[in-house]
């Protein structure tokens, strides 16, 4: 008897395999995942604090332990130790003390108040993308802003999705009065002029990462409800739902075990574009000055400063380039996801 070796693949698994064959999207996906993963270790990679310091037979980890005054390591500077100079001094003295700096030894926050930093420094070997109007290193700010942007977009999209799926799904599944009432609420809610709300709120209270996400979420979940309502409404009338109900499955289980997995197409195909929206939203707000509080590295704020000093090309090009590359990678992913979910085999992306 011939042995059956073929493994049955779920629809999602098939789509994942198809996604993998769409090179542009797949490689963008891998690259973005790696970059975002690395960006959580930025303090170890791009920082002005030393990773390890050996001073007088004691080992210190300034990256983790934080502030050490200059006098602590015998350096004659006001405030915190400047580890770059400390390293140079120790090397010149050929002393027993040593320290290891991160690969790129500049922090996004250190400005001209730190000895040795200059304003408007053009890109060079030390400052890869130059310095800005307050002497902060552009490259390091860019990298930290990447982490914040993507995190912001991810958290925002996830929250929107949770709310949108819950409310939209219940609307479609329960129907009747619940649907009617929530539709009217959504119509009223969606007519709120969102940007003005944010501008008003951030002029009253100082915005923070989570406050911004909160404000954006209370308006943004609406988009998803339309899609989910339609999906649940359609799936609900299929016989497998009747079958699940007739065997006594609870409404909640029917919604999330049976209907939701069959309504994933808009959720997944929409997600990358929702990320693009999230990143752009944060950039826009920061550019207008209503976003994250000032010292936070952000592409929008860098763009704003760059445009005020447009003759310093690196200050404009860096945030624009970073945004461009990030957004286009996300769009590539989105395009490939859409393609992978398309039942037609023909593809122009391969």
């Amino acid at each position: 008897m011939p042995e059956q070796q073929e493994i049955s693949l779920s629809i999602l698994k098939k789509r994942w395999l198809k996604f993998k064959t769409l090179r542009r999207g797949y490689y963008s996906f891998i690259l973005l995942i790696i970059l975002y993963g690395l960006s959580w270790f930025l303090p170890l990679l791009i920082n002005n604090r030393a990773l390890v310091v050996k001073y007088n037979d004691e080992i210190y980890f300034p990256v983790i332990s934080g502030y050490h005054a200059g006098s602590f390591f015998g350096q004659d500077v006001p405030g915190e130790t400047i580890y770059r100079e400390l390293k140079a001094t120790w090397k010149a003295e050929d002393s027993d003390n040593w320290l290891i700096m991160p690969p790129y030894p500049y922090s996004p926050y250190e400005d001209i108040t730190v000895q040795g930093n200059k304003m408007y420094e053009a890109p060079s070997k030390t400052h890869w993308l130059g310095t800005d109007n307050t002497g902060r290193d552009v490259f390091s700010r860019l990298c930290y802003a990447f982490n914040i942007s993507i995190s912001f977009a991810l958290v925002l999209s996830t929250l929107n999705y949770i709310l949108g799926v819950l409310i939209g799904g219940s609307m479609g599944y329960l129907g009747g009065k619940f649907d009617l009432i929530f539709q009217r609420i959504i119509e009223i809610w969606s007519s709120l002029p969102m940007l003005f709300v944010i501008i008003i709120i951030s002029s009253i209270i100082r915005p923070s990462f989570f406050l911004l996400i909160f404000i954006y979420t209370i308006v943004n979940w609406i988009g998803m409800t339309y899609l989910m309502r339609a999906e649940f409404y359609r799936e609900k009338s299929k016989d497998y739902v009747a079958a699940a109900l007739s065997m006594g499955q609870s409404n909640f289980k029917v919604m999330f075990k049976h209907i939701l997995p069959n309504s994933l197409v808009p959720i997944i195909t929409y997600f990358p574009f929702s990320i693009v929206g999230g990143i752009s939203a944060l950039v826009g707000l920061d550019y207008l000055g209503f976003g994250m509080p000032p010292p936070t590295p952000s592409w929008g704020q860098m763009l704003d400063v760059g445009l005020q000093n447009i003759s310093k090309y690196w200050m404009v090009m860096a945030p624009v380039g970073a945004q461009f590359i990030t957004l286009i990678m996300v769009v590539f992913i989105g395009e490939a996801v859409r393609e992978a979910f398309d039942p037609k085999v023909y593809s122009r992306l391969r």
Binding site: Q4, Y240, A243, S246, M247
Partner: protein
Amino acid sequence: MSKNTLVDVKNLSVHFPVHGGVFSKRVATVKAVDGISFSIDKKQIVGMVGESGCGKTTVGRAMINILKYISPEVEVGGSIEYHFDDGIVDFAKLKASEMRKYRSRVQMIFQDPYASLNPRMTVAQIISEPLQLHTKMNAKEQRDRVGWLLDKVGLQPEQARRFPHEFSGGQRQRIGIARALATNPDLIICDEPVSALDVSIQAQVINLMMDIQDEFDVSYLFIAHDLSVVEHISDKIAVMYLGDMAEYGDAQDVYHHPRHPYSKALLSAVPLPDPSRKNRKRIVLKGDVPTPLNKPSGCAFRTRCPIAQPSCAESKPEFKEHAKDHFVACPIVEKKALNL
């Protein structure tokens, strides 16, 4: 009503309100099922036939009490009394919370084998779902039971890890049957289980269903629009027209000696592979089925009935026992029979 009765449906009506206008006022009522009565004995197969849109499926869904989930505003009247071993339960009056423990007793096989299996779940997951809900089996027992059920319905237990889209229509319907059997129900409502299948596969599935009925001692309510299929499988036949019961009785009796003019017309349309009966009379009904939104007064069938009389418009015909266990809703036929 005999001791052997499993379910006794009395005067069942299912009405769907229709709303319209600015304030969603109730403007009309779709009387999908309008007062029907019949009963199913233990280990009995009752076939239910009728044109599409006559309420057959609605009866089936009312009998497993899921109409309220599908359209919350539905109004169900009458009673659907189940005589289980541990007491009598009226599904028409049961609340959702009380309903759950009886769910395992009545199961359903659906018409469309492509829509009735969740495409995201493997066969094992689909069949073991009722087991998870109604039994305390552990994972291994469930796996064994799934394999055993698959074997019973003519599939290989190894196929349990596959997804529904890897099966043909007939195989999917077998999976549906296995799912319905999982909890050893007393009654299975078969909602046109073979209409979506090829004729050759139809026969296989029907034979399988009959074998299973023998083995599991289960009752069927077999809904179909193909009379020859119903005659082959059923002990009793119920003929429905536009939400009303036209005729109900012993299968052979109804099939060979139909009394209601609608049943006669329906039966005369069944193709017979018998050249000697080539010249039998075909009764062709005129017109379409009226909409259940606006049913004709009196007898719903009078607009198309070949023997209709003015009195038919006056009152709804009584559902009377014309012969032993043979109920017909037509006073004209009764009069004729008496005059003979």
